[in-house]
Amino acid sequence: MKHIEILIVGGGPAGLCAAISAAQSGAKVMLVERHDHLGGQLIKQTHMFFGSEKQYAGTRGIDISTILTDEIANSENIEVLNNATVLAIYEDGVITLEQNHKYIKVKPERVIIATGASEKSLAFPNNDMPGIYGAGAVQTLMNIHGVKPGHNVLMVGAGNIGLIVSYQLMQAGVNVKAILDASPKIGGYLVHASKIRRMGIPILTRHTVLKADGKDSLEHATVVELDERWQPIPGSEKEFDVDVMCVSVGLSPLSELLFQAGCEMKMVREFGGYVPLRTEHLRTTNPQIYIAGDVGGIEEASSAMVEGHLAGLAAAKSIGYEHPEFERVYVDYNEQLEALRAGHAGDHIRAGMSKALIKEASC
């Protein structure tokens, strides 16, 4: 059994920043990532990030990933385990991992769960047909592996992921026939919507998928307009000959480990599913466990990075490693987070937070 000061689960934007800040505080960190590379979903984000310079605004996600992973590689306090999956968290704080068919047991003083999220699906006839993929999945296929998903795409969901992936499909030379959203308004940033619209791609709000058809894989999709009560309007059906449909209807937190660890969980619609109750220091009701990023509520990568830093600082401090400039950096990161969430786009995040935030216990 290996003793560890801080174990971080997940090497995406939140986990990387948590590792960096915990290590800077002086704690020894083990960063566990189930894939063979760090970076999480940053490694397929070819667009420039929003936010401020402190969250690398104007820099492409792929390059932010390189900046952070270089910093991890240069830190003596961080040990990285790639290809390693956390299997279980036990009542006595023992955590088991699998790496390359080996079973590993560790006992960390603190754990930061930064497992991220997974793409949701949408219910309609034949939604399980090959050719119907998560929008993020298509992004992985194109931007990491250099493979086109097909020739003609219907994008379902006009949130930021739907809009950004539509743009990236066009960059890869794939036609996007239309972007749909059941909601009456475009959910993603309007600058993203405008840059796709001016390429001639229609954005159809108040529309949803009625059904998909095809022999062995998608060949055809039927779309319908919705009325004010979100009910299909008869006679408004539109047909699309597409071999790919991207489903981008939201994410849900990958929170299984938190359930297992006995953290008190709550369904928070604004956060995309069940999330742990947490203090302002990102500590769950299990005092050993902290959270950062989408696992605590679906948000942007910029805020995931800031949350990672905060969780890293707080977890390190709780075991006696105080960052040399703790007060200053902690206040600064909190101000960044508040600013990122201050606008209209942050309305639902603030609403979600009011449901998931608890007072600091005396532990």
């Binding site: 997974s118 399980d128 047909m129 090959p130 493979v147």
Partner: protein
């Protein structure tokens, strides 16, 4: 289905290797995922659902959803969307839940 030129990205590929899918020879790049190599070769149907035998492809491409499970070198339930391709791999469509010998 390969992207040969991209305005932002350059792709680092492993060496070209052959493997088989249900006995057919397929060419891919070492180290890319099996799912990427199959998709590039136009193979979208990866398995059939257990109860109704409906064709299934991948869905999440990051190892979350289990829509892409196949048999690889005799091992069932391999998530081919995250399994790196190696030369000579024997990839098969898996019918049923699969069992380890």
């Amino acid at each position: 289905m390969r992207i040969h030129e991209h305005p932002v990205l350059t792709y680092e590929k492993g060496r070209e290797v052959e493997f088989t899918c249900n006995g057919e020879i397929v060419v891919g790049y070492e180290g890319e995922t099996i799912a990427a190599a199959l998709h590039a070769a136009g193979i979208k149907v990866l398995k059939h659902s257990i109860q109704n035998h409906r064709p299934r492809g991948f869905y999440c491409a990051i190892g979350n959803c289990s829509s892409c499970l196949m048999e690889v070198d005799g091992v069932p339930n391999v998530r081919i969307c995250v399994e790196p391709l190696k030369e000579g791999m024997i990839v098969k469509t898996q019918e049923g839940k699969g069992a380890l010998e």
